[in-house]
């Protein structure tokens, strides 16, 4: 038998990092397109809703737990910023890699394994989420909407929230059941999942304002947990039990989503 000459294999981390580096390089060509969604939109919301609309409702501070309206909204937008990035990255690059450009097939022709491909892509998204959430947090802090020093941890909470969208969506997008490779689903996901969550999961008003039957639905969304985490950090009112519960809930989304994503990538790409 022609035995393989001893050739050092790279480690899984090195291979996943190579995948991350690839995404980073591709991003150099597309970053302009993401500026609006990742950086400008959150600031627009902060100014229009938080500051300008907030001026009209600022005397209702009791319902907002003693916060001014802009202080209430700004932390939530840290979380939604990461959600946007995670949602985008769980769908478009995955679909492009598997079906549109088929670049993921090229990666798997090399020693890179499926889990390394999936996690390497996620790692790139993590970097994007961290950068976007950090910039937004800094902008909000400079504008006076955030003032707790604990807010420096908010981008990490936000990235957990973003991954809770990225991982399940990457699983969905890579699913072998998704025969239609056109991406025709994506606008529907945006319209019926992402935007309703954005509007009703505690971004612009406390979920206690929702009808009683809807409130538990809001609690079930990963975004609500992400927003609560960020809000607690940005307002400096962190409670251990609540924090652990939020982190655990989001972590479960990430873990189950990532495991399914690896499995579905495998089934779709290696058949």
């Amino acid at each position: 038998m022609a035995a393989v000459a001893a050739q050092p294999l790279t480690t899984p981390v090195q291979r996943a990092t190579a995948v991350t580096a690839w995404h980073a390089r591709s991003y150099r060509r597309t970053w302009r397109a993401t500026i609006t969604t990742a950086f400008l939109n959150p600031v627009f919301f902060l100014v229009s809703v938080g500051v300008l609309l907030g001026k009209l409702i600022d005397d209702q501070q009791a319902a907002l737990g003693g916060l001014s309206y802009v202080e209430f909204v700004a932390p939530a937008l840290v979380a939604t910023t990461a959600m946007q990035v995670g949602t985008n990255d769980g769908m478009f690059p995955v679909m492009a890699g598997i079906r549109w450009l088929r670049t993921y097939h090229a990666v798997l022709a090399t020693p890179v394994r499926v889990a390394e491909l999936v996690l390497g892509a996620m790692a790139w998204s993590v970097i994007r989420m961290l950068v976007a959430a950090t910039i937004f947090t800094a902008v909000a802090a400079l504008g006076g909407a955030i003032d707790s020093p604990l807010a420096i941890f908010a981008p990490f909470a936000a990235l957990l929230c973003g991954l809770a969208f990225h991982a399940p969506l990457a699983a969905f997008t890579s699913s072998p059941m998704l025969e239609d490779g056109s991406g025709g689903w994506f606008p529907a996901i945006n319209r019926f999942v992402i935007i309703p969550m954005f509007l009703f999961s505690g971004t612009f008003f406390p979920v206690s304002q929702l009808p009683d039957w809807l409130e538990p639905v809001a609690w079930a969304t990963p975004l609500w947990h992400g927003i609560e985490l960020c809000r607690d950090l940005c307002t400096g009112s962190v409670e251990l039990v609540a924090t652990l519960a939020h982190v655990g809930y989001l972590g479960a989304f990430v873990a189950v989503g990532a495991a399914l994503a690896v499995r579905f990538h495998e089934r779709t790409l290696l058949k």
């Binding site: 393989v4 050739q7 580096a21 690839w22 450009l101 670049t103 090229a106 022709a109 394994r113 290696l270």
Partner: protein, 307 residues
Amino acid sequence: MDDAPLIEARGLTKRFGEFVAVDGIDFAVACGETFGFLGPNGAGKSSTMRMIGAVSPVSGGTLRVLGLDPATHGAEIKQRLGVVPQQDTLDFELTVYENILVYGRYFGLPKDVIRTRADELLEFVQLNERRDSRVEPLSGGMKRRLTIARALVNEPSLLLLDEPTTGLDPQARHVLWDRLYRLKQQGVTQVLTTHYMDEAEQLCDRLVVMDRAKIVAQGSPRELIRKYVQREVVELRFAGEPSVDGRLDGLGDRVEVLADRILIGTDDGDACVHAVHERGVAVESMLVRRSTLEDVFLTLTGRTLVD
């Protein structure tokens, strides 16, 4: 070690659900050889290539690539493999050069090594002038050449080429053949699939003819021609549908009636042409040529290759 096969398949089978795409085939590829899979659409060529490339699990039989089992040692095999898939998988957003840089990293090559090789490889496939262009606007032949260059970045011992020249113009094909021939001279073992007989004849030391998931013949191009067909072929073309009303009976050793022409396999083409004239068959044109693999294929399967 040198005479041990680089690839060995026994009873190799691929199923997609109930459907059998590769049906218990046996073959072996020796070190340094160029080995071809020839067959019509859907014969199972790509399915076989993907199993060799460890990106498609084997459904039955055994397969050893570089002495290893793809099911358990996929990464180790791929470390020494170069793959040119049937459909391009280049990153259109990146430049020509970047495509090679990014790919080399998956093999754990140091950056400076990749840079040096990328320059050499782009020279080799004559793309150095397009080094910094984005991939998307490149022509099909250029993309194909880039895919080949990319597949060589890890200096593979085994190169898998799935229809390397399909869709290219004749000149681009000849450039590619020339590059593949040079690789062969450098000792790179190659496995390729093709629909083109001339390509198989040019490039392959040995080949198998696949049809409907099975191997129907194997040997060197010359052996196959000697074994399955006569020395020459007389091609008759007609103004309309070929109609001969039995007037060709007994001519040559083998007569194939196709949609647009009739082929007569014979060891003496001139005599056959003479006989066709004598019998007063109303042909529009007639020519004598040497038999090719295409005729082998026709004999074996009753069908033409490119449909």
